[in-house]
Every structure is written in C-alpha cells, then in structure tokens.
C-alpha cells in the first residue's frame, strides 16, 4: 500500500538518500533500521512530503504522492509521528487531538478521543492539561494519538522508543501491535533492534542513504554478519 521506488532526497546541497526503494503492506509492521544519520528520518519525512524528493516515485494507496504537499498526503490517510514529538505545548491534550482530527475514511479504523483514551489510559486523566505540562512518555503517546485522530490507513513512526523508560517502551510495542491488528500499515524507524524484534514483520537496513539489506525479522535474526556490519555500535 506504501511504496518508494528509486527515491533520492537532499537537504540543500547535502545528498541524503540514494535510489531508495521500499514497500509496506496493509496489516504489516515494517522497520527501517540504521545508525544515527543513516537517513531513516529523512526517508519518513520524504514519504510525508516534508522533504521533497529529487527523483523517484512514491505511491500510497494506489496514488502517486511525491509531488503533493504534506497536508494533502496526510489527508489521503498517511499518518506521520515525528521523532521529536512536536506536540503543541500551548494546547490542551484535547486540543492537540482536535488538530489531528479528520473525517472518517472507509477501509481504515475510525478513532475518537474516547477510543484513544482506552488505548492510552494515562492521557484520559489529563484532557485539559496543557501539552507542556505532561511527561515525556505521555507526550509520546499524545503524538501517536493525535496522528490517529486523522483515521490513517498507514502510519509512519520515527523512532517511537527513543528516550522512553523501559515500561513505556513495552506499552509502545503493545500499541503498535494493536494498530497492526486494526489493519494499519506501520512503517517505523528504529536503532533499537530489540524493540524492532518485538513488533516488526520485516526489516530494511539503511546506511549512508542506501538500502543495504532487506528481509523478514527471522532472516535478520539468522544473519549475524549483517547485524554486525550495519547495526552494532
């Protein structure tokens, strides 16, 4: 449902991605693994339109999207959860959700604040609290909840486990699996192989803007050499 074909991206004169191709299907969790600066975030930003690709094709749900504005892509049902959380700190939790709200769409689960509070019980107690006044873990939950308010059929998660306490990381993994159960297509970037193993079906390994490896998580688990070359610190 989400596919990149030979995509190249750059920030100004700095070339970041080279002829990148990848795909993710409905009901599938795909992880993009790689070290810091490998191009994971740029890949996701290119998909959502925040970085405009220099070349290549991106299609989502059968439509070409590489020339669309971010808001147009988001309205097609592709959700994006940024790495740095970027919740609206001046707005209450409810208002943050309101910003993400879009009309329900067929073929995608339909979310309401109440349904999201079941998924993220911590947030239910702080509906009117300002975004600036909730903890980092709660902020991370809120970013995901906010994106889900758009009723996406696919969701991009940029390093969702980064900087979270272990107990929250586990909760995050459960959440991702629940989204998969709902039939969403999930593409996440990660440095944490352990977390990836908990949630993902397939993996791509990216290094210096090139895809170096792709395979199922089981295949990756069996390939010690690839892990040593691209993932060990």
């Amino acid at each position: 449902m989400l596919e990149m074909k030979d995509v190249s991206s750059a920030y100004g004169r700095a070339h970041i991605l080279y002829d990148l191709s990848l795909s993710a299907n409905r009901g599938e969790v795909v992880v993009l693994l790689g070290r810091n600066g490998a191009g994971k975030s740029t890949t996701l930003k290119t998909l959502i339109g925040l970085v405009r690709p220099l070349a290549g094709e991106i299609s989502f749900d059968g439509r070409r999207i590489e020339r669309l504005e971010p808001y147009e892509i988001a309205r097609l049902g592709l959700g994006y959860v940024p790495e740095e959380r970027r919740i609206f700190t001046d707005l209450s939790v409810m208002d943050n959700l309101e910003v993400g709200r879009q009309a329900p769409r067929t073929g995608a689960p339909r979310w309401t604040p109440e349904k999201l509070f079941e998924l993220f019980p911590n947030l239910a107690d702080m509906r009117e609290r300002r975004g600036a006044h909730i903890s980092g873990g709660e902020q991370q939950m809120l970013t995901i909840a906010r994106t889900l308010m758009g009723n996406p059929s696919a969701i991009l998660l940029d390093e969702p486990s980064e900087g979270l306490a272990p107990v929250i990381v586990e909760q995050m993994a459960r959440t991702i699996l629940e989204l998969k159960q709902e039939g969403l297509c999930v593409l996440l970037s990660e440095q944490n192989l352990h977390f990836a193993n908990l949630v993902a079906d397939r993996a791509y390994i990216i290094e210096k803007g090139h895809i170096r490896y792709q395979g199922t998580m089981t295949e990756l688990a069996a390939n010690a050499q690839v892990r040593a070359t691209y993932l060990s610190v």
Partner: protein
C-alpha cells in the same frame, strides 16, 4: 491638574486604546501564524479610515448608514487583505523572512499613493456618529458619548477573539499553526487557507480599527506609518502573538499618551518640563523599559525559532580574485569619473556613495551578525547632527567630520547595550524604538537641533567646496569605510559574529562572548553609519530630522534586502539601485512611491535572493556548466 481632569483623560486614553487594540490584535494574529511582520498593517488601517469616510458619504449619515459604512469598510479591507495574501505574500513563504518584510513595505508605498490618488492630499474629517454625537456629564466634565462606546468596544472584541481562538476548530488550528506550522501541515491542516483566513481577519480588524476612528480623527496620508509605530509598540509590549497582552499594552499606552497631553507643562524645582512633548516618545520609553525587564513582552512567552522556518545561512565566501579585480576596476572607474561626468551625476554619485556606506554598515549587523535593525537611521542621523553641531560650534569642518562618527558610535554603544539583550523581531522593534526616541528629541529640541527645520549652513571647508573635490572626499571616506567593514568580516571578530548568529549556544560554549561581540559589532556599525551621515550633512549643507526618521531606516532595509542580505556586495548594489531609482522616478511622476513600490515587488518576486545574489547564482551556474 484636578482629579476630574485626570479622570477625563483616562477615559479619553481608554477610547483610543480600543482602536489601537483592534489594529494590534490583527498584527499579532498575522505575525503569530505566518511569521510575517506586516509593515502594511498601518496602511490597512489607513484604508479603513478612508474607505469608511467615503462610504459614510455614500450611505448617508443615519445610524444604519454610519455603522453600515464602518462595518463595510472593515470587510472591504479584510477582503483586500485576503487578496494580498493570496496573490502576493503566498509566493514568498519559502523566501527568507526579511524579503516578506520588504514586500509588505512595497505595499505601504503603493497603498499610500493609491490613497493620494483616490482621496487627495487634504485631511478629511468624517462626520460625528449619529445618535452618539452628544456628550455625557461625568465628574462635572463632558465626555463624548462616542468615546464611551469605544471604551466598551475594546473588551467586547477581546472577548470575541478569545472565544474564536479557544472555542472553535479554526481557533485551535490557528493556535497550533502559531506554534508549529510544519507539524500542523503534516497532520492534514491546509496552511494555505489558514494563512489566508488569518490575514483576512487581521486586515478586517485593522480596517475596523481605522473605520471607528473617523468621528475622532481626520484621515491623513501619513497615518499609515504613525499608527504602525504605535501598533508595533503595543504588540511588542504586550508580547508578540498574545491577544490579551495586546489589549493590556494598548490600554497602558493609550492612557499614558492621553495623560501626557492632559498634564501639559509642569514646572518643578525651577525646571519647565513639557509632558505634551513627551507624547511622541512615551510609548517608546515604555517599550524600551518593558523589553529590558521582560524581553518577551508583558504577557508573551519566550519564542524559540519557529519550526520549519529556520533557514541555514550560506557561508560568506572570501571574495574571489575575479571579484577583487572587479572591486579595483570599479574604484578606478569611480576615481576617473569626474573627468567625464557632469555636476549632476557627481552629486547623485556622492549620494550613492553615502548610502552605500550606510547600507553596508546596516548589512554588517543584519547579515553576518544576524541582528535585524529597523532603526539604523538613528546612527546616520546622530553622525549628521553631530557633524553639523560641532561645525556650528566653531570646530573646523575637517575636525567635525572626524569626530562626528564617534558621537554616533557612542550612541550605538549606549542603545546597543539594550538591543543585544534581545533577538529576532524584538530586537528589531527595540532598535526602532530607540530611533524614534532619537528622532523626537531632535525634532523637539528647537534651541539645540533646530527642531523640525533642522540646521542649515553646514558647508564644507573651502578646499572641498567644489562638487568634484567633495566627490573625492566622499569616495575616499565611504569606499574606505566599506572596505574596512568588509575586511573586519573576514577577521576573527567577523567569524565570531557569524558564529553567534548561527548558533549562539555553541558559540558561547567555545568561549565566544556572543553578547559582547554583538555589542561591539552594533557600535561599529553605528560608527560607520555616523560617518555616512556626517558626509551627507556636508554634502547637502543642511540637515533635518528626516535623516533619522523611520522612513530613512526603512530605506536602509530596502537597500540591504534588495541587494541580497547574504552576499558581501549586495548592500552596495542595493544602495546604488535604490538611490538612483528614487532620484530618477521622483522627478518623473507625482506617484513615485507607487512606482518604487511596484519595482520593489517585481524585484522581490523575480530575484528573491537579491540583485547580487542573483548575479552570483548566474555566475556559478555558468562556471559550473562550463566545467561539467
């Protein structure tokens, strides 16, 4: 002054505060979401006043006619604002912020001449509001009924805006986009329409704020920039983007101004002091005090760099050998020019040299140091006045010319100490405030500075009296000053300035005292602006308060931005083109402002990287093409 008189002035101040608040709220909203400092906001206000005046004439002065006209004027200005946003500003959202500023300033020029064309140069006083043309007796004095209505209007609009921003989806999206518009976009918010609607609302408020003023104040052509200065102050004192802050600040400033008029002349300890003269500066003094104590305004919050808008400045390369040869050739050509050119050309060239140095000194702090000054003319004017005053007090012209820049430098040192404590748009506003304070001191101190007439008879020494001789003097001093400033940019101090601009925290961490470097840079720029001013004074033989007024500061901004802020030579190119254009056009047509504004808009849309930036890109493209 009696208590009841104070009370009446208080009411008067509150009435003006309402209009001020409406306009300021519009500016604040627009800035919050689009990050555009809308210089044309005062022009929208002026359009509101004139439109309401004409509509009342058409509709008749009945209750329906009057209020219908006021409301319609607001709506017309709102629609006009939306059109401006969609047809013009929208093309510039990806351009550097300062270019948008330049575009809105071009609009100021165009709207000013439109008003001149449509309504003529005479002041127009509107009719009294029907049904509210009487006065009410309060505390034994008569207060106009209309003022009481205006006093109520401010809080009502504040309440409505608050409801709009907190209780509607539109308001939630506006607040979200104010904080992080890129993220709002990635969540499916169509910024394009949000921006247009915010612009329309802001313009509507400005137009309405103007329209309600027609029974109180005549429509005059200069009200665009005077209200703009007031409104900038209100927004900055209240806190950029804070609507309640704008209300609070409008009340404080409206009341203080009214009080100053009310108190009038006071004699204490044998010193006469005129409070009414203070009206011109009181708001700027409030602003300076507030910004030093609370750098983000009374109710504002510290604003980080807005997400998605942060641009990385390209490095300033050392001039290539080809460019250096170009400099040498240009200098040689300038030196030989008097052999072939006429008197008129020499006078124009002298002007260009003066403004080139002025623009380069402004570029010195704006570009490499990242401090955007809206009040650089203060130092130009200080230099000019210092030169004229020293000369008038019996110093030889050469000595006056030599000492004057240091007076400007000292002024910059004093003002700069406050300014470098701020950054971004707050710094820009504080520089504007200081320039306005300097202007009004010069404008009002008849005995010393000659007041609004300025000083005349500031002629150069005998051996420099000829136009050619003076041209060589200007060439030596201005080109010399420019070369010194450029040289400094490539010294360790220049690199430290750029480090402080690109990342103050990191620069601090490697041992650069960013604030101190900026302070020094600010003073240095003031010194050279003062040199330009001193040369200017002697070239004209007279000097008037215009030389440190807001329009002169804006001229400097236009030159720097037209040339291209991130290029070395841009300011010189911008100064030359601007000075030449202004001179040529103003002799062709009465509507030279509109023509100049049109040209600026054209340049902004076609060469968003500035003239010099455009030439450099072309050059690099050609060089790259021939290699590849």
């Amino acid at each position: 002054m009696s208590l009841s008189a104070i009370f009446v002035q208080l009411l008067n101040g509150l009435a003006s505060a309402s209009s001020l608040f409406l306009v300021a709220a519009g500016l604040s909203l627009i800035f919050g979401v689009t990050r555009i400092v809308n210089f044309a906001h005062g022009s929208l206000y002026m359009l509101g006043v004139y439109t309401a005046y004409s509509l009342v004439k058409t509709f008749g002065g009945g209750i329906l006619g009057f209020w219908g006209a006021v409301l319609a004027a607001g709506l017309i200005v709102g629609v006009f604002g939306a059109l401006v946003e969609r047809l013009l500003l929208r093309r510039l959202y990806r351009a550097p912020e300062l270019l948008q500023l330049l575009a809105t300033f071009a609009l100021v020029l165009i709207i000013r001449d439109f008003a001149l064309w449509a309504w003529g140069p005479e002041d127009l006083l509107g009719p009294r509001a029907p049904g509210l043309d009487g006065a009410v007796g309060i505390a034994g004095r008569r207060v106009p009924e209309y003022d009481l209505l205006l006093i109520a209007l401010g809080p009502v609009v504040l309440g409505l805006l608050w409801l709009l921003l907190t209780r509607t989806r539109w308001g939630t999206l506006v607040r979200a986009a104010t904080e992080d518009r890129e993220m709002a976009g990635a969540l499916g918010v169509n910024q394009s329409w949000l921006f247009t609607s915010v612009f329309a609302l802001g313009a509507f408020l400005a137009g309405l704020g103007g329209a309600i003023q027609i029974p109180r104040e005549p429509a005059v052509l200069t009200m665009d920039l005077s209200i703009l200065a007031d409104v900038f102050v209100v927004v900055v004192v209240g806190g950029m983007g804070s609507i309640p802050g704008a209300f609070l600040a409008a009340v404080i400033i409206g009341v203080l101004k009214a009080m100053c008029i009310g108190i009038g002349n006071v004699s204490a300890f044998g010193i006469d002091f005129s409070f009414s003269k203070l009206t011109l500066v009181v708001e700027f003094i409030v602003m300076a005090v507030v910004l030093v104590i609370r750098p983000w305004g009374l109710l504002g919050r510290s604003q980080g760099i807005p997400r998605g808008a942060a641009s990385v400045e390209p490095p300033l390369h050392l001039p290539s050998p080809a460019l250096l040869k170009g400099f040498a050739a240009a200098l040689l050509a300038l030196a030989l020019l008097p052999l072939v050119s006429d008197r008129y050309t020499l006078v124009l060239l002298t002007d260009i040299l003066v403004f080139a140095l002025f623009a380069v000194s402004l570029h010195f702090i704006m570009g490499p140091a990242g401090m955007h000054s809206f009040g650089h003319a203060a130092y130009f004017g200080l230099g000019a006045y210092a030169a004229a005053l020293l000369f008038k007090h019996a110093l030889p012209m050469e000595l006056a010319l030599l000492l004057a820049p240091f007076a400007a430098g000292l002024g910059a040192l004093a003002f700069g100490w406050f300014c470098v404590r701020l950054s971004g748009v707050y710094l820009a506003m504080l520089t504007l405030a200081f320039a306005q304070i300097a202007w009004s001191v010069v404008y009002q101190w008849d005995a010393f500075t000659g007041g609004s007439n300025g000083l005349v008879g500031v002629w150069p020494a005998q051996w420099l009296a000829g136009k050619t001789a003076f041209y060589y003097l200007a060439l030596a001093l201005c080109a010399g000053g420019i070369l010194i400033l450029w040289r400094i940019l490539y010294s360790p101090f220049g690199y430290a300035l750029r480090a402080g601009r690109d990342s103050p925290l990191r620069a601090d961490a490697i041992g650069i005292d960013v604030r101190r470097q900026q302070w020094l840079g600010f003073a240095l720029a003031g010194l050279f602006a003062g040199l330009a001013g001193a040369v200017y004074a002697f070239s004209k033989g007279s000097i008037s308060p215009d030389s440190l007024s807001i329009p002169r500061s804006v001229d400097g901004l236009v030159m720097v931005l037209m040339g291209g802020i991130q290029t070395l030579t841009g300011a010189v190119a911008g100064a030359a083109v601007f000075t030449w254009l202004q001179d040529t056009i103003s002799r062709q047509t009465e509507f030279w402002r509109a023509l100049l504004g049109g040209i600026i808009l054209f340049l902004v849309l076609v060469f968003p990287q500035g003239i010099a930036g455009f030439l450099r890109e072309r050059w690099e493209a050609r060089a790259g093409g021939s290699k590849g």
